[in-house]
Symmetry: C2
Amino acid sequence: MNRQAKCQSQCPIARATFEIGDRWYLLILRELSMGSRRFDEIAAQTGFSSHLLSVRLKRLEADGVIERRKYQDRPVRYEYYATPKGKELDGVLLQLRAWGAKWGGYPKASKPAVKLVHKVTRAELDPRGPLPSLNGFSFDDYDATLSPAFEAEREERRKAFAVKRGKSA
Amino acid sequence: MNRQAKCQSQCPIARATFEIGDRWYLLILRELSMGSRRFDEIAAQTGFSSHLLSVRLKRLEADGVIERRKYQDRPVRYEYYATPKGKELDGVLLQLRAWGAKWGGYPKASKPAVKLVHKVTRAELDPRGPLPSLNGFSFDDYDATLSPAFEAEREERRKAFAVKRGKSA
């Protein structure tokens, strides 16, 4: 499965958006950057059906953007991680964060959904402040703390997911 | 028409991707950043049908990402421009360019599809080199020169578009 072969444009923006230009892929990468590793948690937080999430994870894996690591044998279960290629999209996510914070229009958000503090310098990366250098930028270099409101939102999604799963089981 | 009201997440990445997380929107913004202003040229270069392009331009306009400016009265014709909100996605496009150049796998591209040279410093912005500061980054600050291969690709699309239009007229 080599999807890249389908985009033959000279333009690297066209090639990049061909591969990851779909909000769901970026949201999956956001989940991985936040440390979500398990299928169910990613399903809950993205709102995907199991089928669609499975298809999309396979596509990201085929594209070399994420990788699976087995953590259990019976039944076989995998955790999902961004590859180096996938991690290099952290800068794109950071910019979307800044853009969304400035233009996304969500007045209720009085503080950042995720507070990012650099592990070494302890400087906070304010989504409305200036961007750091994005050469080699990685969320791995930051401690992340979720705001109570965002934590509540995510917990609500977990509950909704559990209810849905209970109904379909 | 206020689509933003539909994404109530605390997460600015979710809100941003809700608005522009579709490859076609990014490709439309790429066209605008390259100076394409006319409907037909954008249609030719994105490969959209007139109907779909029209719907998507209206959506971007409703979201405040682009604006129309009338350039002709009979018949009424508009040119399309990125708004300040839209221009602030130039940094995202630049990062996708860098990522696509590094990971997008297009061996035939021996030189950049678009050579970007800063209007003041005359420094070239190599897609495989380090990123400049993305605070306030704008393609407007660069002279763009298309490679012969990319120019040929774009000319081919114009021809294909003209043929398609001829057939449907």
